[in-house]
Symmetry: C2
Subunit: 222 residues, 2 copies
């Protein structure tokens, strides 16, 4: 382990795959602390890759040899989000399978959507064990950054990510506001109960709570 690197495992908590609201904040904090590169690793559950692709500059999909010949739905959805595919464990007796997998994914990618008009998603192999291919992977990552900076897509993506983040924070804050509204407490409790027992639909209950919220607002005094 190098002293220049800081590793922070995050508990997955209630979120599948462990990418939480706090992941973004941890990333910001790490940047503020002077780190140039922040790697977010997921445990590989579909939902979290989607979340991660919405908060990072580059999404690398790390795969094992084998399995590139038949892209089923789950994997296909993730592959479409990736900016770079890397087949790891291209060493020892897995090396030939790794090369076949590279060819399989290159073929598969021709049939899929890509996220960026200026970037053909590369498929590479490497070995974390003997280090082969790692330097090339890093060069490709730098190349991606160059291309995306040059065509303005990097800043557009970051602006869109920041705005989406703002709205998700707003949604959370507004729910907090509602939950802590003493005047609404009873009404929310009884409607939540009505919804849980099927007496009212969630849609109707939500509308009633919000209408009450608006009505309270109109009659509030300074």
């Amino acid at each position: 382990q190098r002293t220049e690197a800081f590793i922070r495992p995050s508990p997955a908590g209630r979120t599948l795959g462990g990418v939480t609201r706090r992941t973004r904040e941890t990333m910001l904090l790490t940047e503020a602390a002077g780190f140039d590169i922040v790697l977010v690793e997921t445990v590989g559950v579909g939902q979290s890759e989607t979340a991660v692709s919405e908060m990072t500059d580059l999404f690398v999909l790390l795969l094992l040899p084998g399995g590139g010949d038949e892209l089923q739905g789950i994997k296909r959805g993730i592959v479409e989000l990736a900016d770079l595919l890397v087949i790891n464990k291209a060493d020892g007796d897995l090396a030939p399978a790794a090369q076949r997998t590279v060819a399989d994914y290159r073929h598969a990618l021709r049939l899929l959507h890509t996220r960026h008009p200026d970037w053909e998603v590369p498929v590479m192999s490497c070995s974390a064990l003997d280090g082969s291919g790692i330097a090339e992977v890093w060069e490709t990552i730098e190349k991606f950054r160059e291309v995306m900076s040059a065509n303005g897509e990097l800043s557009r993506t970051r602006a869109a990510q920041a705005t989406a983040w703002l709205w998700s924070e707003l949604a959370e804050d507004l729910l907090e506001l509602l939950k802590n509204d003493a005047g609404l407490r009873k009404r929310i409790d009884s409607l939540e109960q009505a919804v849980a027992t099927g007496r009212t639909s969630p849609r109707v209950a939500a509308r009633m709570i919000v209408e009450q919220f608006i009505a309270d607002r109109k009659t509030d005094k300074p």
Copy 2:
């Protein structure tokens, strides 16, 4: 196609895998129209299975022969959500592979969490082509319903799903309220711009908007 069945393909829209807020409403509508059984099929992208498991009584994972011997992260996360695993295409020269896959998944499931204490997730094979195994799959689905009804888990799940739905509707409604607030319009626009250009953090901007929202509220007159 049978006249008793109604099939409605839904466009995926912006949601990965195509499970949207409207899926729940479509399900309700179909029930109201007198259909006893509503099947929600996803295109198989990780995120949508999670969403579907949060709005249905039973989650069947349909798999192909092969691939059960090594459960990587993505698939593993989905397998843990399933109430029933079915290996399809157990016919012709794929039949032996299908049987191996059944055994592989049975083995894998022993090492995974299950969602229900009273239900050991069955792994079955079938052939949609020659119809073999379909009746047994359906019997298992009925059995699941019986068990979950008897132990009260079905109604508990439905109550929890309805309540979660209420809160997600509330979040959407509150955002609408905020977006349509004429007094806040300018402030939201300028803070959204500040966030997009990196001058303000999403967290800080959200707090400022909500504080303004509360302040407006306090000074409102009837």
